[in-house]
């Protein structure tokens, strides 16, 4: 039963969405829209499972004193602090005791982790964690500068949530992305070293297209390079893309069909 019910569910919903494609009637569309909403909602619950996994792996690293375990505190601290930012909102211009509150919450979690790891001193760490929580509760109750908001998505617009997004996530994101410029150079160098017909063809096409965009080479090579580059993009490129897309379409269709029919069960741990 443990394996048969999921296979039946896959078959039932798979066949429904397959036929739904051919049934434009309102009732079929209505069920389809419901199903898509359901997937989104289940995704949020799954996220909780994911966050728990991240938490667990980080704690395990600290527990086993694995190389670089200290950095796990940064992951855990930033995770908790950002969550607090997402559920709090500043009421006026002043910050008040807000950062002390965040620190108290983060510290409380760290102390609980320590209590779990160090069973000998569990009561001491648990007591200290309790003190931190009490302090956080007092600060939350008495400080009028900010408040905990479980109402609307205001927390997301709160100053710290936005600030961390703008000054931490965005710079790291953009820098990681920009590293691609260096990596693409080393990848090109690697391609240069390859000495077979395939690599040569790849490189030749890459060089023609790249030289088209090069402001120094363009006046020397003239418009023939631009035209050849255009031709490469519009003709052989289109042919290969079409061949790949057709193959991918068939591959996706065949795999999806095997999933619906219960032939392919790799996703359930049974290939």
């Amino acid at each position: 039963m443990k394996r048969q019910i999921p296979v039946l569910l896959v078959f039932a919903f798979g066949v429904f969405t397959l036929f739904q494609f051919f049934v434009p009637h309102e009732s079929s569309e209505w069920v389809y829209e419901f199903l898509l909403d359901w997937i989104l909602i289940i995704g949020v619950f799954a996220m909780a499972v994911g966050i728990w996994s991240l938490f667990r792996v980080s704690v395990e690293k600290i527990k086993t004193r694995k190389s670089g375990w200290g950095y796990s505190y940064i992951t855990l601290g930033s995770l908790i602090a950002m969550m607090v930012f997402g559920f709090t909102v500043r009421n006026g211009e002043a910050w008040g005791w807000f950062f002390a509150f965040v620190a108290a919450i983060v510290l409380a979690v760290f102390l609980v982790i320590q209590a779990v790891i160090d069973r000998g001193k569990a009561y001491l760490f648990a007591g200290l964690a309790g003190l931190c929580v009490a302090a956080a509760v007092v600060m939350a109750a008495l400080d009028p500068a900010w408040s905990i908001h479980f109402q609307t998505a205001e927390g997301l617009q709160s100053t710290m949530f936005r600030a961390v997004f703008d000054y931490t996530l965005i710079p790291i994101f953009a820098t990681m992305f920009s590293l691609l410029a260096f990596f693409i150079a080393s990848a090109a160098y690697r391609a240069f070293r390859a000495r077979n017909l395939m690599a040569t063809l790849l490189l030749l096409a890459a060089l023609i297209v790249m030289s088209r965009f090069n402001p120094f080479l363009q006046p020397i090579l003239g418009e023939y390079v631009a035209k050849t580059s255009n031709w490469l993009m519009n003709v052989p490129n289109m042919a290969a893309q079409r061949a790949i897309i057709m193959g991918v379409g068939l591959g996706i269709a065949a795999t999806a069909l095997k999933v619906v029919l219960g032939i392919e069960r790799g996703y359930m741990g049974k290939g």
């Binding site: 999921p6 289940i42 950095y71 290969a240 069909l257």
Partner: protein, 269 residues
């Protein structure tokens, strides 16, 4: 930590403080200049920490990496909570909860159906219990089944049937006599010869490409030759795509350098 490591750490700390003081000093005295100074300096520090990865793995990169992971995971969690649970589910299942979260209640005749994903979501959470893992396969089966059926027909239509249709190209393009045919021999696409040649390349390119993806027939003889031409066409495409992307990536790097030089150091306009 080695002596060099300590020296580098001290230098980084000093530079950080100097930058913070300078940025706060030059900030808007009416605004939160201390906080803003810190944030800009921190952003610059993170940018350099990530870039230092190009040299080798180091404590600053590790710091930025772990911070990035923690912050981003919480960011998505908060976003999903507010936009999907509070924005999509709460208004449909309970008026009281909608009032508590201050979102407009959306009454509907069939809203009770929204309890099903909640139940499936709870079943998924059963993964966390040591013996309830098997029941969490039900919501997974629901998601996989629903989308498998969906993908099957949609990809068969968009990636297969529509692509076959687009391959129907006339090999003889608007024949206007030999004079016109040979008068425009360049890669300029308006020339008749090039247009016809292009259509031939597209057609036979697609055919050879498709032949390359045959799995159940040995690639020998004429079949093997067609398959080889197919992989050549694929390689030319990958090269062109590679070259095309290079320029876009370089402009990203320029964007980050602009942040460091203009927004942080203020030495470029």
């Amino acid at each position: 930590m080695s002596r060099t490591g300590i020296v580098v750490f001290l230098v980084v700390c000093v530079l950080f403080v100097v930058s913070w003081v300078v940025k706060a000093g030059t900030g808007d005295p009416e605004g939160h200049y201390i906080r803003d100074g810190f944030l800009v300096t921190f952003a610059a520090f993170l940018t350099l920490a990530i870039m230092s990865f190009m040299y080798k793995d180091n404590p600053y990169y590790k710091f930025a990496e772990h911070l990035f992971v923690g912050v981003s995971a919480a960011y998505w969690m908060c976003l999903a909570f507010w936009s999907t649970l509070v924005g999509n589910l709460v208004p449909r299942i309970s008026e009281r909860l909608s009032n508590a979260f201050m979102v407009p209640h959306q009454p509907g005749e069939y809203n009770f159906f929204f309890y099903i994903p909640v139940i499936l979501g709870i079943l998924l959470l059963m993964r966390l219990s040591p013996k309830g893992g098997w029941i969490s396969r039900w919501p997974l089966a629901f998601i996989v089944g629903t989308t498998a059926g969906l993908n099957f027909v949609r990809y068969l239509r968009s990636d297969f049937i529509n692509q076959i249709n687009s391959t129907f190209l006339p090999l003889a393009v608007d024949w206007q006599g030999f004079g016109h045919f040979f008068s425009n021999l360049s890669l300029n696409a308006t020339g008749q010869f090039v247009a016809m040649f292009g259509n031939c390349v597209i057609f036979f390119g697609v055919l050879c490409g498709v032949i390359y993806f045959f799995f159940s027939k040995e690639h020998t003889g004429w079949f093997g030759r067609a398959s080889r031409v197919g992989i050549w066409v694929l390689m030319i495409t990958f090269g062109a795509s590679f070259g095309y992307t290079v320029m876009g990536r370089i402009s990203l790097l320029v964007g980050r350098l602009t942040f460091l030089l203009r927004d942080w150091l203020g030495i470029a306009s």
